[in-house]
Symmetry: C2
C-alpha cells in the first residue's frame, strides 16, 4: 500500500435550489469583486444565470461577467479572463457550468495570481504558487473539476490539450443541484457518466497492491454510475439518478478513489487528450472510444486486477472466491469478459467503442501525429500497467480505429 | 434522498514516519505558539512525543505541553488547558493521541476562542462561533475525531458525557501513521474497530431512502473493518491491516458515510454515552455491549434495511436479488440473521455483547438513572428507526444486561 495525502477542502452544498445560496457562500470568502464565468447560452436560457446573479445582488456582491467557454476550454479565453480580472480588480471567480468552465476559471485564477505566461504551468515548465479563490455552480456531472485539483486547457495554437494539477486551485465551495442537469442532452449525460467511471477506473486498474477500502469504494462507485446511467437514458428527470451520478462525479476525482494506490494508470485519458485536442470530441465519448483497445493491449500485465474488475464491478461469476487461487486461463478469461462487459455497457448507453463511432475517420498520418504528441515527441511513456511508448500508442489508436 | 453539506477540510498525511512532518505542517498554519496536548505515558514511552518535539524544534516552533488526558476526557483538564493557553498566548493546538486527546483539544480550542463556560456548548445552551486551529498525530484508529466535527467530553461533576458537533473544530491536518498503532493492546484495537463500524452503521441503519453510492461506500467500509479486525487479532503488526482500519476510522466519521441520509440513528451511541459516563468503559466495547439489544428492539420498524445489512455486509444469502420482492417472513429472518452475524463478529474479536460482559453488573436503580439521563430527564427521545423514550431505553438496557 502506498502513502498518500488526501486534501479535499471544498465545501459541497448538495440539493434542490442550492444555487440560491451562491451569494451567501461567496460572502463567507470576504472578497471584493467576482468574475462570473460561464459557457454558452444554456445557463442563460435556463434562467440559472439570472438566479445566480439575483443571489449575488441580494448579498451585495459586485461582479463582472465573462461567458463563452467552450468544451475543451480555450487558452485564448483564459488570457482574456486574466486581463479582465486584473483590470477590474477581481479577487474571486465563480464558475457557473461544467468541467470546462471550472477548468477555465482555475486557469484564469492561476494567471491572475502568478506572473508570466499561464500556459507554462500546463506545459510543466513552472509550478503555480497561488490561485485566486474559486467557487462553482455545477451544471453537468462529468469532469469532477468541482472538487478536483485538476484543470485541462486546450491551446488552439497547435490543438494541444494539457492538464495542470495543483491543490491550490481546489474550489472553496461547490453548489451541486442535480435538477440543473435535468435538461442535458442524452449524449452529454452519458458522456459525463463515462468520464466519471473512467476517473475511478484509471485509479483502480493499476499495478499497486491497493487498499481494500479504496477498492471497495471504487467498485461501489462504478456500479452505481453504470446503474444510474442506464436509468437516465430512459428517465432523464429522475432526481435520485441525477443525484447519484452528480455525487459520484465529485467523489470520483477528488482523490478518494486513489488513496493508497500508485496514482493509477492514466493512459486512456492521455490517449483521449490528443483526440480531443485534434478533433474536439466530447471527452467521455473519446474515453469510451479508446478504452477497450487500450485495455486489451495492456491487461496481460496484470490479469488478476482486470479479473477482479470483472467480478466486483460487472458481477461476472468466478469458480471460486479467492481469485488468486484460480488457474491462469480462468483469470485471463475473466479479465477479457470484464473488458467486454465494460464495452457492452458503453454500447448500452450509446457511447462509442471505436474512434469511427466517435464520428472521426482518423488517417495513418493523423495517428502518427497523435502518437507523436501523446509521447511528447517521444520523450515520455504513458501508463503504469504497461509503459506505452510511441509505437505502443500507435498500435492502440489503430486498434481503436 | 436528503440534501446535505459535505465539508472535510482536514489535510490527511498518511504513511510511515509521517509524524516527522509535524513541524512543517504547523508552519503552514503560521501560528506563534503551540499547545502540545497528549494523554498518558504511552506516547512518551514509545518515543513518539520526543520525535514530535524534535520536529517542532527543527521548525523553530515554540510550544507548551499539557499531558494527562484520560479516556472519556475530563472537563477539568479542559478548563486547565484553556487557562494555560490564555496565559501562554497559544494560537494552535497539536493533539498527539487518540480520540480522547483530540476531543479534549477541540474543547480547549472552543474555550479559548469563545467567552463564557465551554461546557455550555456541550449542554447545547450556546453554539460556538470560533475555535483555535487544531492538528493531530493519531495513535489509535477508533473515534474518527481526526476528521470529524465532533468532540465528546465528560463532566466529572455528575458523570455526564456530552458531545458538541461543529465544523469550525475540524482539524487543519491529521498525521496518520499506521505503525503508531502496532503496540496497542488487543482490547483497545478491537474496541476501536467496533467504534469505526458503529460510526458507519448508525448512519446506515436509518429510515431514509439513502443514496446507493453512500450505501455502497458504507458497506465496503464495514466489510473492510470486520476483515482486518480479525487479522489484527492474530497479527497486530500487520501494516496493511493497521492502515485499512486507520483510514476507515477517518472516513467513517468525516461525513462521507452520511451523505444523502437522514443523519442516521445514533441511539446506540447515546445509550453508550451514559454507560461511559457512569462506568468509564471503553467506548467501542460499550457500543458492542448494547447494540444487539438495541437492534432487536427496533428492527421491525425497518426490516428491509436490516435485511440489506445482512446481505451486503455479512454476505448472508437471500432467495432473490431484489429484497423488496421477498416475503415479509424472509425479510424478517434475514434482518435477525444480520443482527446475529454482527454479534458473532463482535464475539470473534472478544468484544462484549452484553453489559455484564463489559465487566459491569448494572442494578435496576442504575438502569433507571441511566435512562433518566439518556432521555435528558424525559425531555427527549433518542433514535430515528424508532423514537425511544425513557421506558424504551430502560427495556433496552435491561435486555442488554
Amino acid at each position: 500500500m502506498n502513502d498518500f495525502t488526501y486534501y479535499t477542502p471544498t465545501k459541497v452544498v448538495f440539493g434542490r435550489g442550492t444555487e440560491q445560496q451562491t451569494g451567501a457562500l461567496i460572502q463567507e470568502q470576504s472578497c471584493k469583486k467576482v468574475l462570473l464565468h460561464y459557457g454558452g447560452g444554456s445557463a442563460k436560457r435556463s434562467g440559472l444565470l439570472s438566479r445566480v446573479e439575483a443571489s449575488l445582488k441580494e448579498s451585495g456582491i459586485d461582479y463582472v461577467s465573462l461567458g463563452g467557454v467552450k468544451p475543451n476550454p480555450r487558452l485564448s479565453l483564459v488570457y482574456e479572463g486574466i486581463e479582465l480580472c486584473k483590470k477590474e480588480g477581481v479577487d474571486f471567480i465563480l464558475a457557473v457550468g461544467g468541467g470546462s468552465v471550472i477548468d477555465s476559471a482555475k486557469a484564469i485564477g492561476y494567471g491572475v495570481a502568478n506572473d508570466g505566461d499561464v500556459w507554462d504551468f500546463y506545459e510543466k515548465k513552472r509550478v503555480p504558487t497561488a490561485c485566486l479563490p474559486i467557487g462553482c455552480v455545477l451544471t453537468i456531472a462529468a469532469a469532477g473539476s468541482e472538487m478536483s485539483n485538476s484543470s485541462v486547457i486546450t491551446n488552439e495554437n497547435g490543438g494541444i490539450k494539457r492538464g495542470c494539477n495543483h491543490d491550490i486551485c481546489r474550489c472553496k465551495f461547490a453548489i451541486l443541484n442535480p435538477e440543473l442537469t435535468f435538461t442535458l442532452p442524452e449524449y452529454q449525460t452519458e458522456s459525463g457518466c463515462v468520464d466519471i467511471i473512467m476517473h475511478t477506473m484509471e485509479r483502480y486498474l493499476n499495478q499497486a497492491e491497493n487498499m481494500e477500502l479504496t477498492d471497495g469504494i471504487s467498485e461501489a462507485l462504478m456500479r452505481t454510475v453504470m446503474k444510474y446511467a442506464k436509468i437516465l437514458k430512459k428517465d432523464p428527470t429522475n432526481y435520485n439518478a441525477r443525484a447519484e451520478v452528480m455525487w459520484a462525479s465529485s467523489l470520483s476525482h477528488n482523490g478518494l478513489t486513489g488513496c493508497g494506490t500508485d496514482g493509477g494508470d492514466w493512459a486512456s485519458h492521455q490517449l483521449e487528450h490528443e483526440l480531443g485536442g485534434m478533433f474536439d470530441v466530447a471527452h467521455g465519448a473519446g474515453l469510451s472510444a479508446v478504452w477497450g483497445s487500450f485495455a486489451r493491449y495492456v491487461y496481460k500485465e496484470n490479469p488478476l486486477r482486470f479479473a477482479r474488475f470483472a467480478v466486483k464491478v460487472h458481477g461476472i461469476e468466478a469458480s471460486g472466491r479467492d481469485l488468486s487461487a484460480l488457474p491462469a486461463e480462468e483469470i485471463d478469461a475473466l479479465a477479457l469478459a470484464g473488458i467486454k462487459a465494460m464495452e457492452n455497457f458503453y454500447r448500452s448507453v450509446d457511447m462509442p467503442t471505436s474512434i469511427h463511432e466517435l464520428g472521426v475517420d482518423v488517417t495513418d498520418a493523423q495517428i502518427e501525429e497523435l502518437a507523436e504528441k501523446c509521447s511528447f515527441g517521444q520523450t515520455r511513456t504513458i501508463g503504469i500497467v504497461k509503459k506505452l511508448d510511441k509505437a505502443d500508442i500507435i498500435e492502440i489508436y489503430k486498434a481503436a480505429r
